[in-house]
């Protein structure tokens, strides 16, 4: 990734960026190796148990989801779809911004200029 230094704005070097990404990956991956006897299971369902302990008489069935994914496979597909939609937005708009910046730099070599 090339970075363009601009006045008063500090742009990190590639090393710092790699360091940051590594940290993120480590934070999210280390539990997989450290916690052995777990499936990292459905977070939502487990919280319900606490409610059941605190208020055994409470009936959460007074309303149910109008539709539920039939199984784990469909559910993960839909989660992937959600992430994909977000990823497309981010990628598209970042690409747009970079292209715009590049186009501006080609027309006018001085980087501080406004459109």
């Amino acid at each position: 990734m090339t970075t363009q230094t601009q006045p008063r704005t500090k742009i990190y070097s590639l090393w710092i960026i790699i360091l940051g990404i590594t940290a993120i990956i480590l934070i999210s991956a280390i539990p997989l190796f450290v916690v052995q006897d777990s499936e990292f299971g459905g977070a939502d369902g487990l919280g319900a148990e606490t409610v059941a302990t605190l208020a055994p008489d409470y009936n959460p069935e007074w309303i149910t989801n109008w539709w539920e994914p039939p199984g784990g496979e469909t559910e993960s597909a839909l989660f992937a779809l959600q992430a994909a939609i977000g990823g497309i937005l981010i990628g598209y708009f970042f690409g747009y911004l970079r292209g715009k910046q590049k186009g501006r730099a080609e027309i006018n070599p001085s980087p501080t200029d406004e459109t």
Binding site: P31, V34, S38, E75, A83, G86, I90
Partner: protein, 256 residues
Amino acid sequence: MSLKKFKNPKTIGWLLLIVFLLSIQVAWAKSSAAPSKMHIMEGYLPLGWAIFWWVAAIPFWVIGFVQVRKVITEKPQQRIMLGLAGGFIFVLSALKIPSVTGSSSHPTGTGLSTILFGPFITAILGTIALIFQALLLAHGGLSTLGANSVSMAIGGPLVAYGIWLLLKGKTPTWLSVFATAFVADLATYLITTTQLALAFPDPVSGFWGSWLLFAGIFAVTQIPLAIAEGILVVLIFNALQSTASNELKELGLEGV
């Protein structure tokens, strides 16, 4: 040039911090295995509370909607940034990340939008992601949409925006950005905790007993994820500074 950076005391500090955080993770992992969750599931709030949080959320949606329209009509350039901020929330809230407690949870992604557009527009963007999850994934629900919006799309961003205004320009950019994203994530969980404790106070120890019980479940799971999210938002904001300086300037975020 790049290697010199490693001799920089700041870089060494960062490295030490990461090592420290990882060691905390390992320590935690050995000590606890509690479940956690993100959104309140459908039906898991009594009708009264469900309505209460819906009503509480409405003013924020209204103001947010007006602000979104204003951005779209008056600053059409910023539509790009709106899309980016919304996309970011979509991606991050779809990622269930394993945590040291042996369960999964996901980040909120609302920090970036809070920095760029403030809490009201974030309320709209966050609620869109929540509706998607409630309708298609049975993750959260319609009765609890109000409560989940108040925690993830409104309350978390609101608290985080306070932090942002407090730190902006006074601390290095990375620190202000990191703190804002970190707080947006964590505050979301504390609000969820409060909502559940209010609806289900412990029969013996009351609201606080219940609060501590839910908080114990969430906090440990969420802190590492909030840290990861904070780092990610720092990187994204940095990338924006290099590619979207004009847009940031228009949002009043130049040299913050």
